[in-house]
């Protein structure tokens, strides 16, 4: 029974971190780069504004950080719940 509960908790923790990462994923691309760009228009970046930077560079860099952060977090979570591979 305890193992079952532990697996459920593991999955819940996983869903939580996925949700957080997906919110950031959407915020930098659909948010900063497109919908919220007018709000960021006041922040200059090399001849244009922050929204343009997110559209052509910033979101890609954020995506990379997100995947490696998730990998690191999940490796730790796997060990914590004893479900890592041998």
């Amino acid at each position: 029974m305890s193992e079952k509960k532990s697996t459920d908790d593991y999955w819940k923790a996983n869903i939580r971190i996925i949700t957080i990462c997906m919110v950031i994923w959407a915020l930098v691309s659909f948010g900063f780069a497109i919908i919220l760009r007018p709000l960021l228009a006041g922040i200059p970046v090399g001849g244009t504004d922050l929204g343009f930077w997110f559209a052509q560079q910033g979101s890609i860099l954020t995506f990379i950080v997100l995947i490696f952060y998730y990998t690191w977090y999940m490796n730790r979570l796997d060990r914590e719940f004893g479900v890592e591979e041998e």
Binding site: I35, G46, G47, T48, Q56, Y70, T71
Partner: protein
């Protein structure tokens, strides 16, 4: 040395390398052939995935695609990279844990249904075959451009090389050739980019150069580009312009992201790593390797476009352009290919390049006769880069090898997805379950050979819709496979009926919506509605429909699930087991 000889040496050497790898990496079992024995280092797999993913179009056309629209086409940059976040977080680790060989294999087993498996095979075949046509055509074009052989000969040489390593080595051969191809293509892309960035901004990193100061004018590069474009009557580079809208940018980006995550030839690359943790890490590395090109492409695009304008208007866009006789050598070279063409409409020897649909004041005052740079192909921004930057001939040879590497690596990945769906899903798992492993391996090789012949034929005689197929492939991947796989992992109770109805609704609605505006099978004149913003339902572009198809797939599946019995107990246990990494093991055979 003659440029032709240099190109020949570079292309020949890279091909010799691929064949060498093919001989070294022969596949001895189905596990070798389908999944490289699940022994691929995650970083190596990342590079192989990057080559698998980046097609001839990414290599040759991406920079131009961004440069001729500017901000509005950032959708491609975000869409084609953001999909890897979905892959890493939602699909790859669980599919690796499941430990099968193909995407329909997962769908068939998880939804305990032959029908589901066959629907998945059909959508896989449609999207992969349409996609591979473009790659073969691309390889033929690259050959004819650099090696002065005709298109068909080039295509046949390319097919023979792919045949050698894909039929012999399967996934094992493909993986290590893709690694080599990644190295070739990224070197070829980066070197001219560094030099053009140095020339224009003094910064060797194109990613930083894009946002730094344009040395000649002292203005920020992007501001300078905005200025000259507006002065010539074009719209500015960094703004959002019709026909693009915020709404369609969001929807198109989302469709590309979901589509990317649902493309089978990308997903199967994650079956080759030893562990679940490696599948997560490998997706990260894949994106690093992809970003090396995708962050350079917009810089190359903006810089090359500015460079060409300032070459034509050396004294500023308000003054006279250069005369036709003064044009630099590289323009001369590329005119011969037809990618660049001038027409002296005003008969004064000057090259007047401007937007004739919105002529600037000086064009009206000066009585200009129309834009005289009549052909300005977007591919020129990458292809002519080495000559624009006055780099030695071997860099051009490298570009030739790089373009071919990009086309061949993607073609091989697609061919493997096609052949494994036929030999494994249709034969072994559906119609001929009695065949031995040896026989299955033979059938895998035969279907690979068949797929190459088919792709070569279609590449030589591309159907009229070839240019549109990328939209179709992404739309199908987004609306059929991605939701089915995701529900298979994240919903324990999702049943066969739900998955099948979902896939059919997603697939059907997307195909219908695209055909409605672009014509039935893209045949001109068969579209029932005009392809204009006013005619689109709720303003949704047919190219952006994939995300809507995905939503319809999810909705249809859940409604069906509510009306039918949830998945049986043993399937729910199976889902629980794929959610934890423990016990993934090495090569799992059936």
């Amino acid at each position: 040395m003659d440029q032709f000889v240099i190109n020949l040496i570079f292309v020949g050497a890279s091909f010799a390398l691929y064949i060498g790898i093919a001989i070294w990496a022969r596949a001895g079992s189905t596990s070798d052939f389908y999944a490289a024995s699940r022994g691929v280092n995650p970083i190596v797999n990342g590079a192989a995935t990057a080559a698998d993913w980046m097609s001839a179009a990414s290599f040759i056309s991406m920079a131009g695609l961004i440069a001729f629209v500017g901000y509005g086409n950032s959708t491609f940059l975000m869409g084609w990279t953001g999909g890897y976040v979905l892959l890493a977080l939602l699909l790859a680790p669980y599919l690796r844990k499941f430990g099968r060989f193909t995407v329909p294999d997962f769908i068939g087993d998880r939804f305990y249904s032959k029908t589901a498996r066959i629907v998945a095979v059909i959508s896989l075949l449609v999207m992969s075959i349409t996609y591979v046509i473009g790659q073969m055509t691309g390889a033929g074009v690259a050959f004819s451009r650099f090696l002065e052989v005709d298109n068909l000969t080039g295509l046949i040489i390319a097919a023979a090389v792919v045949f050698a390593y894909a039929v012999l080595g399967g996934m094992k051969g493909i993986t290590y050739t893709q690694l080599a191809q990644y190295c070739v293509l990224i070197t070829a892309y980066t070197i001219p980019a560094v030099f053009i960035s140095l020339q224009l901004t003094g910064n060797p990193l194109p990613q930083l150069g894009l946002f730094s100061t344009h040395t000649d004018s002292g203005l920020p590069l992007l501001q300078k580009l905005d200025e000259v474009l507006v002065e010539l009557g074009f719209h500015d580079y960094t703004g959002l312009h019709e026909p693009q809208t915020t709404f369609n940018m969001v929807l198109f980006t989302l469709s590309l992201m979901i589509g990317t995550a649902g493309l089978p030839h990308v997903i199967i690359r994650f079956f080759t790593v030893p562990k679940v943790a490696d599948a997560r890490k490998s997706a990260g590395w894949a994106l690093v390797f992809i970003a090396l090109l995708y962050t350079v492409a917009p810089a190359v695009g903006a810089m090359a476009r500015l460079n060409i304008i300032t070459t034509i208007y050396p004294d500023g866009t308000q003054n006279q352009p250069i005369t036709y006789d003064e044009r630099p050598d590289w323009m001369h070279t590329w005119e011969r290919t037809g990618l660049l063409r001038f027409e002296d409409k005003a008969n004064d020897g000057l090259i007047r390049y401007y937007n004739e649909a919105n002529p600037p004041q000086m064009a009206i005052d000066g009585g200009w006769q129309g834009n005289e740079l009549v052909t300005f192909n977007q591919d020129i921004l990458v292809l002519a880069n080495p000559e624009i930057a006055q780099l030695p001939g071997w860099v051009i040879g490298l570009i030739a090898a790089g373009g071919l590497a990009a086309a061949l690596s993607t073609a091989a990945g697609l061919l493997l997805a096609i052949s494994s769906a036929i030999s494994h899903d249709l034969l072994k798992r559906t119609f001929a379950p009695g065949i031995s492993e040896k026989q299955e391996l033979l059938y895998a090789r035969i279907s690979m050979a068949f797929a190459i012949v088919l792709a070569t034929y279609l590449g030589a005689n591309p159907p009229g819709f070839a240019a549109q197929v990328v939209a179709l492939a992404f739309g199908l991947a987004a609306s059929s496979l991605f939701p089915a796989i995701m529900m298979g992992i994240f919903s324990k109770t999702m049943n066969a009926a739900g998955a099948i109805v979902g896939m059919i609704v997603g697939l059907g609605s997307t195909v219908i919506y695209i055909f409605l505006y672009l014509g039935i099978f893209f045949i001109p004149g068969t579209n029932l509605l005009p392809n204009t913003q006013d005619a689109w339902i709720m303003g949704i572009s047919p190219l952006s429909f994939g995300a809507v198809g995905a939503v319809l797939n999810f909705a249809a599946a859940y409604i069906t699930l509510k009306m039918t019995k949830p998945a049986p107990e043993e399937i729910q246990e199976l889902v629980e087991s794929i959610r934890v990494p423990k016990g993934a093991g090495g090569a799992v055979d059936h």
